[in-house]
């Protein structure tokens, strides 16, 4: 009997399970259709798995959406970078134009203050052959440039024309060691000669040991050299040293930044004409 039961155990189990399922089915079919306790229990057991599935689904959906967003952002970023690259030169051009306009406006203001006719010119080269400090302008003899015409900017004196060829003019800067400008101290009216010292700036010579000079004094052109109009700023006193003999060594820092010079104004003064302009 026992052997038969063991042999037929799977079949008996099948019958039990099928009967159980049939009972469940018939009770559900006869009932109101409402979920039974067993059904609720099964759902309770399955709910952690269902919640896990929902959690995984949410995570997967979130990751996928983030990926899609990221792709969109990447594409938009590339497009915006292209736009920026295309607009950058234009913005730069606009900024350059604005700055140039500002400089030219200042030159125009200056033009009104000068007695002689003036000519605006662009600096095309800034060179220092040997120890000299010179610059080249895009205007030359055809436009009326002559030797010894002063070159100025709204900030101050640049130098004088030393050579003028058709289409180009060469200017000796006040930094040049061979340059000499008749000058005076604005505060005390003490006179001297400003000579160039190259990269170190300028020096005012022939200032008496007894003269009242202070660091920060403004040095302007005196007009006595009959080249530069009177009253234009050359620079400010940066250092005062005891000189040999009866003079002082007065170092002058030029007001014009020669490394950033772009446009200048050439005063078209006839050679030898007296300069009476007082600023």
């Amino acid at each position: 009997m026992g052997a038969v039961l063991t042999e037929r155990k799977p079949f008996l189990l099948l019958l039990v399970l099928l009967t159980l399922n049939l009972i469940l089915m018939s009770s559900r079919v006869r009932g109101s259709g409402r979920g039974s306790l067993l059904e609720d229990a099964i759902l309770g057991v399955a709910s952690p798995f269902l919640k896990s599935a929902a959690w995984i689904a949410r995570g997967a959906a979130g990751t996928w959406n983030s990926y899609l967003d990221l792709r969109g952002v990447r594409v938009e970023n590339a497009r915006l970078q292209e736009e920026v690259a295309a607009l950058a030169p234009k913005a730069n051009e606009a900024e350059e134009a604005r700055r140039e306009m500002e400089r030219l406006r200042q030159l125009l203001d200056l033009k009104g203050e000068v007695e002689f006719p003036t000519l605006a010119a662009r600096v095309v080269a800034l060179g220092s052959p040997g120890g000299a400090r010179t610059l080249d302008l895009d205007r030359g003899s055809r436009e009326g440039l002559r030797a010894n015409q002063p070159v100025i900017t709204p900030r101050g004196v640049v130098g004088r024309v030393i050579e003028a060829a058709p289409g180009i003019g060469k200017v000796q800067m006040i930094l040049d060691p061979n340059s000499a400008v008749a000058a005076l101290l604005q505060r005390t009216r003490i006179q001297g000669i400003v000579v160039g010292e190259g990269d170190r700036g300028c020096r005012m010579d022939y200032v008496s040991e007894l003269a009242n000079v202070e660091v920060g004094d403004v040095v302007v052109t005196s007009g006595l050299d009959e080249i530069y109009p009177k009253g234009y700023i050359i620079g400010v006193v940066s250092e005062i040293e005891e000189g040999e003999g009866l003079t002082k060594i007065v170092k002058v820092r030029p007001e014009v930044d020669f490394r950033r010079l772009e446009e200048v104004l050439v005063v078209l003064k006839p050679e030898g004409a007296p300069v009476r302009t007082v600023r």
Binding site: L13, L18, L22, S36, F49, A53
Partner: protein, 154 residues
């Protein structure tokens, strides 16, 4: 331990079926992971284990699907018994016989449901042959993949 593994497998099947029906509904309609699980148990475990898994999987499926409780339990128990009987008689380790068993098990399901519906006086819509073939192929392919993965789980 075996019971825990069985419950875990059932939970995983439940989770995967929910995910499939939500995100890959076309594949979800063409494979029944509960049937695959019962067939796997029938081929790799003893007959009683396959039947118990069939009842459990069927009841979970009934609960999830909202169908008559016990209907899928009955069908899956029967599948577990039949596959378990075949599995105890033959060595079904190769892919083709296993595919055949999975394919055949797919057809047992609607046949049993048809008989039960008639017995209980319930209406039953006979599924189309093309749909059944698709389901059989889906169960076969996905089932082989599941068997391959399961064989690599320690």
């Amino acid at each position: 331990m075996r019971i825990a593994r069985g419950l875990l497998a059932l939970g995983a099947a439940c989770m995967a079926q929910v995910l499939l029906s939500r995100y890959l509904p076309s594949l979800g309609r063409r494979c029944d992971l509960f049937t695959i699980l019962v067939v796997y148990y029938g081929l790799t475990r003893h007959q009683p284990a396959a039947m118990l898994m069939g009842t459990g999987a069927g009841l979970v499926e009934d609960s999830l699907a909202g169908s008559i409780l016990g209907l899928n339990g009955f069908k899956k128990t029967l599948i577990g018994y039949l596959v378990g009987s075949i599995g105890s008689l033959f060595m079904l380790n190769q892919a083709i016989p296993r595919f055949g068993i999975l394919f055949a098990a797919t057809f047992i399901d609607p046949l049993t449901e048809l008989m039960l519906s008639v017995a209980l006086g319930q209406s039953f819509v006979v599924p189309g042959m093309f749909d059944l073939l698709q389901l059989g192929l889906g169960n076969g392919v996905v089932g082989l993949l599941v068997f391959w993965i399961a064989a690599r789980i320690p």
